[in-house]
Amino acid sequence: MTTIVGRLRGLPSVQVTLAAALLVLGFLVAAQIAGEGPRIRYSTEERSPLIETALGLQAQQEALKAQIVDLRERIGQLEAQGPGAAESLKRLYADLEDARVAAGLIAVSGKGLAFRLEDGNQAGGLDALVTARDVRTLVQELWLAGADGIAVNGERVVGSTAILDIGGSILVNSAYLAGPFEVRAIGPADLYDRLQASVAFVQFVQRRIEPSGLRLSVAQPDKVDLPAFAGTVNLRYARPVATTAP
């Protein structure tokens, strides 16, 4: 034993460092190879194709959403170029633009807040995982504090937005999001002060965030950008009631 220790001591420190690094390298190479290729071959045979299908569908969804936003922008531009010199037509274009902004169909910028909500340590168990309810609570508190617009991980929150737990991810609109969750809000200059003055927000921090070890941080960037809502705005069951006024 003494001889081994003695021999080890006799080794140059560079060799020891190199040996340790090679050991870690070996582990990482093995992990990388195991994790490569069609992802999640690590589970049962039946899950692997399901995950690949889901990933493919998510990629399709991203492409379709980008297409929708692009088409809406082009339609807006075409409408703006319309031949309508008539005052009534100009008014119609302006109303349409206002309605799109109000509906969240147009990206907006402004001053605001950027919250980051992250899981706590694994030792905290299930309680230390961010849930849809946590995200919803934060969103609701921001609305109550006077936010003008909100987005969660790039998904614009609109009137039809549902926020749900689906397995290990959170569904917002039709996007499956994984943490950390960034909740961005545009609002008045004192948005954060208003939030801190809310009893419900303080309780959320004291009773949910702190005991469970969840991490909630906030930044006040110079400019907050919120994307346009990229979902469908078609109505199947609801019909507008005809009115005389616009």
Partner: protein
């Protein structure tokens, strides 16, 4: 050490460090690769086969909706481009679009079939928000609480017995109305372990009764949905 030996010593020292530098570089690249690889599958690794199947069904249905929206928008764009080329206006097209967007956003009153949920007894704002969230998830196209249209920014808040919406107090008994498929809305809310059961467990003294409604009209919001602090990125 002579003047000639000095550079050799430097090379030797550098030579012994070279493998460490190479290994450290590869190590760094692999760590980054590993972290990126894990981040690429958001949450999916935690799902069971049943949950994945449900997710695929949802994504497929969602993508079909997106495709329909793309087709509609394509058509709308073509009509506008044609009209522009002909020098004609598309007033009807624009008015339809305006009417649809305003109705969807809650800026105009809407009518249709749906459900009514009668709420009685003590329940917190979080319980009502759970119900509204589930209604949205089930495809409700318009929702009103005690006659107040629920749009972006409207929240039901408060402790049991002290609920309010848009600064107006809600009494001990009120109604939530939603336009959508009565079968889907009722089924989603009342399924075993569904939101009605969950809210009932949290607020055992509250009574929630769901009933289909053949036709209802939900008023437009009073809220000004135009941004005050945000600027459109046109």
């Amino acid at each position: 050490m002579t003047a000639e030996q000095a550079p050799l010593a430097v090379v030797r020292r550098g030579g012994s460090r070279l493998p460490v530098v190479v290994v450290a570089t590869i190590l760094g690249l692999l760590v980054v690769g590993q972290l990126r690889g894990q981040a690429g599958v958001p949450g999916l690794s935690g799902l069971t086969a049943t949950e994945l199947t449900q997710l695929i069904a949802n994504l497929t249905a969602g993508n079909d909706q997106f495709r329909r929206e793309v087709a509609d928008l394509d058509q709308q764009e073509s009509k506008l481009a044609e009209a522009r080329d002909r020098g004609a206006s598309t007033v009807d097209e624009l008015q339809n679009d305006l009417s649809r967007i305003r109705a969807w956003a809650g800026l105009t009153a809407v009518t249709g079939q749906g459900i009514a949920i009668t709420v009685q007894g003590p329940i917190g704002g979080d319980g009502i928000e759970e119900l509204l969230n589930e209604l949205r998830n089930a495809g409700a196209e318009a929702i009103a609480v005690a006659g107040v249209r629920v749009v972006a920014g409207v929240v039901v808040a408060g402790a049991p017995g002290d609920l309010s919406i848009e600064n107006a107090p809600l009494g001990d008994s009120f109604e939530i109305r939603a336009i959508g498929s009565p079968q889907i809305l009722t089924g989603t809310l009342t399924r075993t372990g569904g939101v009605i059961a969950q809210v009932g467990a949290t607020y055992p003294d509250a009574r929630l009764v769901v009933s289909p409604v053949e036709t209802m009209t939900l008023a437009a919001t009073d809220r000004d949905l135009g941004p005050t602090d945000a600027s459109p990125r046109l």
